[in-house]
């Protein structure tokens, strides 16, 4: 996964860290490991919290066909790409 937008990626990492009170710094979140499960260890409650922050900050709403959200949250890079493609502000 390319780091098409390092600035945005750092910003998104910062949002995740502050929304969830993580004790890692944004730079410590790897771009390409899963945010879910074995990677950063987020669960569905966290994902929903992140979704709220994303919609507030970037002006669009996350959607999914089911509760899995596997693709968008498969990595920081993919979440960043999704935001870059959909943001309205």
């Amino acid at each position: 996964m390319s780091e098409a937008n390092p600035e945005l990626q750092n910003e998104v990492a910062g949002l995740i860290v502050s929304a969830l009170n993580l004790d890692v710094s944004p730079e410590e979140i790897p771009a390409d490991t899963p945010l879910y499960g074995d990677g950063l260890g987020l669960d569905s409650i966290d994902i929903l919290e992140v979704a709220l922050v994303v919609s507030k900050r970037y002006g669009f709403q996350l959607r999914a066909d089911n509760a899995d959200n596997v693709k968008i949250f498969s990595s920081l890079a993919s979440l960043t790409q999704h935001i870059a493609a959909n943001k309205t502000k």
């Binding site: 950063l40 569905s44 979704a51 507030k56």
Partner: protein, 453 residues
């Protein structure tokens, strides 16, 4: 032998479900049930993992009419699945996902189904038939089964529908999975037994919930939790009109209940229940914080214990929550819920017990001592995460978290997980909660709640 019908829909053309914006008739549903029955493998015990609520319902019905028992553990961790296999060696899972991660013999839900039969019969199910084993987290680390029979489940579902005024005209969308009791009762069994239609979806994001609600004809109902309700109200500027809201799993604040009623333009009811007795009472929180028992259910008290009795409850069931009875006995129908049983952990609708978590933590090789602590008083809709204090000099935080992940649901992973030299146990080896809390407070270190692996 008395029987009750699988569904209460009056004609074969009645709508039992909405799936991909299209109605599914009782005729189609019953034909699909028969078809799935003809395909099911050997084995009497089933883990129904279908994420599409309609397919879950068809699979459940197929299990019921073929005399199979659904297993409903509180989580689906690798350890839980192994335990299910130990308890019921013939267990297999039913899934509608391409890559199921359950380490069990697997039955894939058929992608295509034959055309509906002309006149499928509505099956009559014996009231004594065991439909499900619902598991709670036992203190010894082993799941404890609670047997659910058809007659009791049906009476519960009908009592719920009667209380909420749900009937054949309603369409019901749930944000909770059907694999847990609340979702099973309110998004599958209540529609079946009131003649209402269930929405096949299981929306997650607020925008999805709104979109799927808007797909349904009115009157429509949203079955949700305090956590989902709060995110929905925070995130969405405009909400689709709804005719009935239902919340359960954790008490809702009156403030949020009033806001939800005002913005959705619908009454919001809460349901109170427990795994052992099923649903016990309801309240319309915006109007009154008193709980009223479901039709024919009463609370009864002897010297020590409070019991739920009557209605769908087959045998008197002790309640361990902190309850204040209102009015004169000897049978009570109104009460206040002052607190849940201290050992019960409930995070966003997922339940376990501190005793179970402590058992799992202390069973990890390298853990010398350890204890989970509930967060102190959190706001009703906030998610209060657990903390753990652990003595494990030979383990890294990452290794310990990984080991915990094997056996407990991610929701209950400690945040923070704090390593200490020793726990302040007293002379008898007990760990007074206040001592543990004092130790926690003294550890002013920044939380080490997330571990990157």
């Amino acid at each position: 032998m008395s029987t009750l019908p699988l569904i209460a829909h009056r004609t074969l053309d009645a709508i039992v479900a909405w799936r991909h914006c299209a109605p599914v008739s009782a005729r189609q549903f019953l034909s699909e049930v028969d078809y799935v029955v003809s395909l099911l493998p050997q084995g009497r015990h089933v883990l129904n993992l279908c994420s599409d609520r309609y397919r879950f319902a068809v699979s459940l019905a197929a299990c019921i009419v073929s005399g199979r028992v659904s297993l409903l553990p509180s989580t689906h961790t690798a350890e839980t699945v192994r335990q299910m296999q130990r308890i019921s060696p013939d267990v297999f899972c039913i899934t509608d996902q391409a890559n199921s991660s359950a380490y069990l013999p697997t039955f894939r839900y058929p992608e295509s189904v034959p055309a509906a039969a002309a006149n499928p019969a509505i099956p009559a199910i014996e009231c004594d038939q065991v439909i499900a084993e619902v598991f709670t987290s036992g203190s010894s680390g082993l799941p404890v089964p609670h047997t659910k029979r058809w007659g009791s489940l049906v009476k519960n579902a009908r009592a719920e529908a009667e209380r909420l005024g749900v009937n054949t005209t309603h369409a019901i969308l749930g944000t909770v999975p059907p694999q847990h009791m609340y979702g099973l009762e309110s998004t599958v069994l209540m529609p079946w037994q009131s003649g209402a239609a269930l929405h096949a979806g299981h929306p997650f994001y607020p925008a999805d919930i709104c979109a799927q609600l808007a797909e349904l004809p009115r009157p429509r109902m949203l079955v949700t939790t305090p956590f989902h309700l709060r995110t929905l109200l925070t995130d969405q500027a405009t909400l689709p009109a709804v005719d009935q809201l239902l919340s359960a799993t954790a008490p809702l604040s009156q403030t949020l209940a009033c806001e939800a009623e005002a913005r959705f333009g619908a009454p919001l009811h809460e349901i109170y229940g427990c795994t052992e007795a099923g649903q016990i009472a309801s309240r319309r929180t915006a109007v009154d914080i008193e709980w009223q028992t479901l039709p024919n259910v009463v609370l009864d008290r002897d010297t020590e214990t409070l019991w739920a009795v009557g209605g769908h409850i087959d045998a008197p069931t002790p309640l361990s929550d902190v309850i204040e009875l209102l009015g004169d006995g000897p049978k009570w129908t109104h009460f206040l819920l002052l607190g849940r049983h201290a050992d019960l952990v409930n995070i966003a609708g997922k339940r376990t017990s501190l005793a179970y978590l402590n058992h799992q933590l202390n069973a990890i090789p390298g853990v010398l001592d350890g204890v989970f602590l509930q967060p102190e008083r959190v706001h009703a809709e906030d998610i209060g995460r657990l903390t753990a204090l652990v003595v494990a000099p030979s383990l890294t935080p990452a290794a310990l978290i990984q080991a915990l992940r094997e056996c407990i649901d991610p929701t209950f992973l400690p945040r923070p997980l704090l390593f200490v030299d020793t726990l302040p146990r007293n002379a008898t080896g007990k760990l007074p909660e206040q001592m543990a809390r004092n130790l926690l407070a003294s550890l002013q270190a920044p939380p080490t709640n997330r571990v990157l692996s």
